[in-house]
Symmetry: C2
Subunit: 413 residues, 2 copies
């Protein structure tokens, strides 16, 4: 059972929008045992869309499209699909009722353009788009399927989870092969050194098993994949073998974002955390409170971008900053301990570094980041050199902060 | 001059990685007058890569690939390209010297796998990857070009800017057509209502001019595009006409992120800003300090996720929280004024809302967000209803905060 995604929209091809939909859909499809073979981004253009549909149907059993379903003239997907399938637009009373209900408090939106949204192709099955005006459409081409969704990410996600995936499950349960992915995350070793360490393991793997290396921001994700060839038990055995080989570098045995793991561990232990951030500028805070349930363990943060904030809110002595600089062990220790004490949390993390592009010196070049972890048992601090690019330094610093915290939490378990 | 991008990597097709490279490359290509026709993501698989190359060369003059150039076994791009172009791997002394220099402080990385990185196809032109071990490769196929880069975003960006784009400029200057994109951002009007407002304008546009609507988080980006048909002067005239039509809803006349515009205005005026964030959880802070130069205007933030932080750091009276709730006009006003006073900035923005999925009530459902802007002239506050999904609520709240601030700043100019 093979799928492809076609994302439709000029904005993707002039770089005005990053396609985050495809990765999300890919995960969901893999979970369902549906292999995603290719992702293709095309223009809002009749010939281009038709060519992409033909090519995708040649390779895959299910084709998904996102985008081009708005009421404005630049959106043409519905009309192109009518032509492709020889369909005609007809009014759908159920879609009309839904849209009228959707905008019952905003009657100005119920204009003649919005009214075109309840015109649907007579050869499509229509599923409800609970949160938007563009109905979801399923077309059949011989024994193959086309599922069309809006490109707005949250509309697409709700459409997939509530409508498209349940629809597919009801149609294809018998044909699914078991796709297995297992990922662990390691740190503190270069990718090539890791690959040499795993050379023998890789050579002994059966042909249906694949090992991938995904390095990012100092963490390498190691993924074992099987597309129907291995049983879960066999996969578990290879995963355990791999784990034993990398045990000195292992952070976690899952592909979850580190902040999710931190959040779960803290919640389980009824413990709390705060941050005092200079160079990470709130990014660590927003990682920690990104996911539902974070109010159980995340209390708050002080973002002390300017030195005055370090002095007035965090109580870092001005003499300390003068003597050691803001990017120093002394300062991050005070920052972490101060925010931990003021916010009354179990843990606190502080960051102070040089994000660049300016501000670097010979002794402390751009990328130098001091970090401290304050805990009930005391405070530790560490210095990192995290590259030369502002965004990369911030992202790597957030990961280092979480890796350091995980080590501390795990030591105590 | 048409280009295509092929992104290579199983991680893209199982959703482990979002392809951010393509949008960035698309922008750069458009700036150079090179039209990006299609983006295709394929597996680390010989047949798949070869098929994608053949199809892309049928449609485009320049093909870019990213990914699959690491030293580990899952990366096969270089070997597939050798087969495709009938090339053989040879040792490149200049690449070798560069890699040895790159890892001179980490000699353990100079292992036998890393040594495979200085083997390059004898039919490729080799360009230096300043920040990584995988050399950049240019292949020629009749009068067409293939440029191959690593998939790691920051390596790809430096490769494009320092090597690939200058290389292309030297080859193709004469053939470029002038691609023009002009974007403005509007808010406070539904997409369909806006399209009706612009109906006559759209009908009167020449065939070489395209108008696109890109709604996101309550802001609609309106883009005029021309692929070689219009002069800059003609484009400027249509853009001015469009601007006049949407003047009541206009935020800015560029496609820049709002935080960049806010930052530039504050820097020009030597003014500063701080935030007190509850529901946005540091995301507004990290937007404000995301870009270089932000230390000129951004001082810091207090992220008061837990009520204790609102009380102890921001001085919100506990009686006020009891009487009005944390998501209230009274509380956000105190938060904004308190952080403005404590951090001694010109402006401060405070947010407090219900991000969900739990915590909503009939009176204050999930998505309710109170926001306050404290300024030298006083404080204003406003309540918004920003949808039902946690991430969407946060993103929309950040945009509302920036739109509100821009209005205040612009009123004073």
């Amino acid at each position: 059972m093979r799928a492809e995604i076609i994302t439709i929209g000029d904005e993707l091809l002039i770089g005005q929008v990053v396609d985050t939909n495809s990765a999300w859909m890919a995960q969901k499809l893999n979970e369902q045992g549906i292999e995603l073979y290719q992702i293709t981004s095309v223009h809002d253009d009749r010939e281009h869309i038709i060519a992409a549909l033909n090519e995708a149907f040649n390779r895959a059993d299910i084709v998904f499209t996102t985008g081009g379903l708005g009421p404005t003239k630049d959106d043409i997907t519905k009309h192109v699909l009518c032509e492709y399938f020889g369909a005609h637009l007809i009014e759908d009373q159920s879609v009309r009722a839904h849209i009228e209900d959707l905008y019952k408090d905003r009657l100005d939106v119920l204009n003649r353009l919005t009214a075109t949204q309840w015109l649907v192709p007579d050869k499509a099955e229509i599923l409800e788009n609970r949160v938007g005006s563009a109905p979801l459409m399923i077309f059949h081409k011989e024994d193959k399927l086309l599922a069309c969704m809006p490109g707005v990410p949250y509309e697409m996600k709700i459409a997939m989870e509530e409508q498209i995936l349940p629809y597919l499950q009801s149609k294809i349960t018998n044909q699914k092969s078991k796709i297995l992915h297992r990922t662990m995350q390691v740190t503190g070793i270069a990718e090539s050194t890791l690959a040499i360490l795993l050379d023998e393991f890789e050579n002994s793997m059966p042909s249906g098993l694949h090992l991938a290396y995904l390095p990012k921001d100092g963490v390498i994700r190691l993924r074992l994949s099987s597309y129907g060839e291995l049983t879960e038990k066999e996969m578990a055995r290879y995963f355990a073998d791999l784990k034993a080989l990398v045990r000195d570098y292992l952070i976690v045995e899952t592909d979850e974002p580190l902040e999710v793991i931190v959040g779960r561990l803290l919640t389980e232990r009824h413990q709390t955390i705060a941050t005092a951030e200079s160079c990470t500028g709130g990014k660590l805070a927003s990682l920690l409170n990104k996911h539902p349930g974070s109010s159980a363990f995340y209390y708050g943060s002080v973002i002390s971008y300017d030195n005055s904030v370090k002095e007035h809110i965090l109580g870092v002595p001005v003499e300390m900053i003068q003597a050691h600089g803001v990017v120093s062990e002394e300062v991050v220790r005070v920052m972490a301990e101060s925010v931990r004490q003021q916010l009354r949390t179990d843990y606190a993390i502080a960051t102070s570094g040089i994000g660049g592009p300016t501000g670097g010196t010979a002794a402390k070049p751009v990328g130098t980041v001091w970090m401290a972890w304050a805990t009930p048992e005391g405070t530790t601090a560490e210095c990192f050199h995290l590259g030369k690019l502002r965004e990369q330094i911030t992202d790597r610093a957030c990961l280092k902060a979480l890796v350091g915290l995980l080590k501390i939490i795990n030591q105590k378990s």
